[in-house]
């Protein structure tokens, strides 16, 4: 029976051997795998890696892109006050927004986790709405809420005797508004990640802590945080990258104004490179995002690899 079953197979193998070697190669596992990943490799190589190096090349050209000028674009930037303003603002923007997003997300996740499981879905659904709306669309709503003459916030605050606040008109308030909108968009992401992490903490650990007489603060500090450490690290680093590279919110809300006091790297690079059509200088500006992105990426990768090894 086995011989009969094997016979046709052997015949097929012999027939296959006679076929061209190309056909055999096409059937090999590594070839199939390579062909399956080829579109991905091509996409990444031509539209991500090549442009990244092309940016380096562009940054060394003069404005008309005909002459190699070495590092003088960077020298020019270092001499400009606006550049240092942008560096400062990018850092303030990213760090403040990420810290508050993480804190708010953590707090909200706890509250959602506290209430009976039946109602959690509904609350989670409502609280995630800011993340679902395209940021460009929701920032328009914020722009309207912050409108200099029709601001709905100022209308409400006037009942408490708080004078009209120049939400986007004054440098400090504009920075505050931009960060506020970013927190509004980003906090739900943290909430959902932390909620998933909270659910994975075994209940027994809390029971053990309660028996040992731990109060709620000690329970968070010694049980919740260590168990969520990895998720917190990855989410924070990931959000740091996204926030640092943010464009939509600042562009729509203030377009960098008043007087460049809310510009961050991405919006300033757009202003110079596309609107001011000085592509080399714009490329140089956007390249300044690389160091912080690289540092965050290295840490994320380390965490991901660690998790891979644990599993």
């Amino acid at each position: 029976m086995a011989d009969v079953a094997l016979q046709p197979n052997r015949g097929a193998a012999q027939a296959a051997r006679k076929r061209s070697s190309l056909h055999k190669m096409l059937k090999r596992k590594s070839t199939v795998a390579f062909l399956m990943t080829l579109p991905l490799i091509l996409l990444i190589a031509t539209l991500v890696i090549y442009p990244a190096f092309y940016a380096l090349h562009l940054a060394t050209l003069n404005k008309s892109m005909q002459r190699f000028v070495g590092l003088s674009n960077f020298e020019f930037l270092f001499r400009r006050e606006t550049f240092w303003l942008v560096v400062k603002q990018s850092c303030i923007f990213a760090i403040t927004a990420v810290v508050f997003k993480a804190l708010l997300g953590f707090i909200i996740a706890h509250f959602v986790h506290n209430i009976p499981a039946k109602g959690q879905r509904k609350w989670r659904g409502m609280l995630l709405v800011p993340w679902v709306i395209p940021p460009a669309m929701s920032t328009l709503a914020w722009l309207w809420l912050f409108d200099p003459s029709y601001s709905a916030f100022n209308y409400t605050l006037s009942f408490f005797g708080i004078g009209p606040i120049p939400w986007t008109g004054d440098a400090m308030w504009a920075r505050f508004s931009v960060i506020l909108v970013n927190i509004w968009v980003g906090a739900p992401f943290f909430m959902i990640m932390y909620l998933a992490a909270l659910k994975s903490v075994p209940e027994q650990l809390y029971e053990a802590a309660a028996i040992d007489g731990a109060n709620w603060w000690q329970r968070i500090w010694y049980v919740t945080l260590p168990m969520m450490r990895n998720i917190i690290a990855i989410t924070t680093l990931f959000s740091l990258i996204v926030t640092f590279a943010n464009f939509d919110i600042v562009r729509i809300l203030t377009a960098g104004g008043p007087l460049d006091h809310t510009h961050i790297f991405a919006t300033w690079a757009f202003r110079i490179g596309i609107e001011g059509s000085d592509i080399p200088l714009g490329a140089s500006v956007s390249l300044f995002m690389v160091p912080i992105l690289a540092i965050a990426a290295i840490f994320i990768l380390r965490d991901i690899n660690k998790r891979g090894n644990e599993a």
Partner: protein, 303 residues
């Protein structure tokens, strides 16, 4: 003596239980209190969009209570939905998103399968590389890409800038890495016995993928599809840089550049447009919330 201790101990324990459940009740009340505050914070902008979209421009400029509609009207909706320009934006957005989702899935599903199951030279490095690519933001690449497409236009005469289909080339750089990454996670979680059984039955690699992996990992595919759709629907920077003519624009850029004319803000229409632009992701989210959240958390929890 013993009875006394028991008597003493019993009430204290009871009181402690009572206080604990009272603590719980208060904790619950505080939780609801803060959740309501956070929900108001979360929902104020979208609700305000809705309120403003129902107002006529006369009512908006009269500066009555901004939180209330005194004379609800649908004129903004009628105005936008009968405007060819706006319908064009919506159509462009829909076409771009549908194509991008298709391209993304065609590229990332086979690649994820190969990376998850068919170990080959460099496959681990490539998987890490895919994840790293996902971390590269579009704000880093838009200037060199713009110049690249301009150069291609000069050399070959293929005009890509200011054509909506340039977005079909650009958006996959944002969607493919993440979708591949989460599909690797989903595929890796499928038991090895399943595809071994398929191979023993004489299935080719392609058949293993289409007959076993795609059906089993279908939730993952839905999550990836939703992700690709929402990203391509919401993308703002690339269309702003690469398209300028009004007939080539997609929703987010179209609303901002065409409805805001100089200093004249027609807020009723802008809010209506923003709400209609936010509607497709919101509708998908409302019906497929669990898949949406699965896709959101998969990036960090799988890996």
């Amino acid at each position: 003596m013993t009875t006394v201790t028991v008597d003493k101990a019993a009430p204290t324990r009871k009181v402690k239980y009572g206080s604990m459940s009272r603590d719980r009740a208060w904790a619950l009340r505080w939780s609801y209190f803060f959740l309501v505050i956070f929900a108001i914070f979360s929902l104020t902008p979208p609700i305000y969009m809705l309120i403003t979209s129902l107002k006529s421009s006369a009512e908006i400029s009269a500066a009555t209570n901004p939180w209330w509609v005194f004379h609800p009207t649908l004129e903004n909706y009628v105005g936008l939905l009968t405007s060819n320009q706006f319908l064009r934006f919506f159509w462009n957005s829909a076409i771009v998103s549908i194509f991008v989702v298709t391209i993304t899935m065609l590229i990332s599903v086979p690649a994820a399968f190969a990376l998850a199951r068919m170990r080959f030279w460099g496959s681990a490095t490539l998987a890490t590389g895919v994840f790293l690519t996902y971390l590269i933001p579009e704000t880093l690449l838009f200037i060199p890409l713009f110049k690249m497409f301009a150069v291609i236009g000069d050399w070959t005469g293929i005009q890509l800038i200011n054509r909506w289909y340039v977005l079909l080339i650009l958006y996959p750089t944002l969607t493919v890495p993440f979708c591949t990454w989460i599909m690797i996670g989903y595929f890796a979680s499928i038991p090895k016995e399943l595809d071994e059984a398929a191979v023993i039955d004489g299935a080719s690699w392609l058949q293993t993928l289409t007959r076993i992996f795609i059906p089993v990992a279908f939730p993952g595919i839905i999550a990836a599809t939703i992700f690709a759709f929402t990203v391509s629907w919401a993308q703002f920077l690339y269309p702003l840089v690469f398209t300028t003519s009004t007939d080539q624009l997609v929703m987010p850029v179209g609303i901002i550049t065409s409805l805001i004319k100089g200093d004249v803000f027609n807020w009723g229409q802008i809010m209506t447009g923003a709400l209609l632009g936010a509607a497709p992701p919101l509708i998908i989210y409302a019906f497929l919330m669990d898949y949406y959240i699965a896709g959101l958390t998969a990036g960090a929890t799988k890996g």
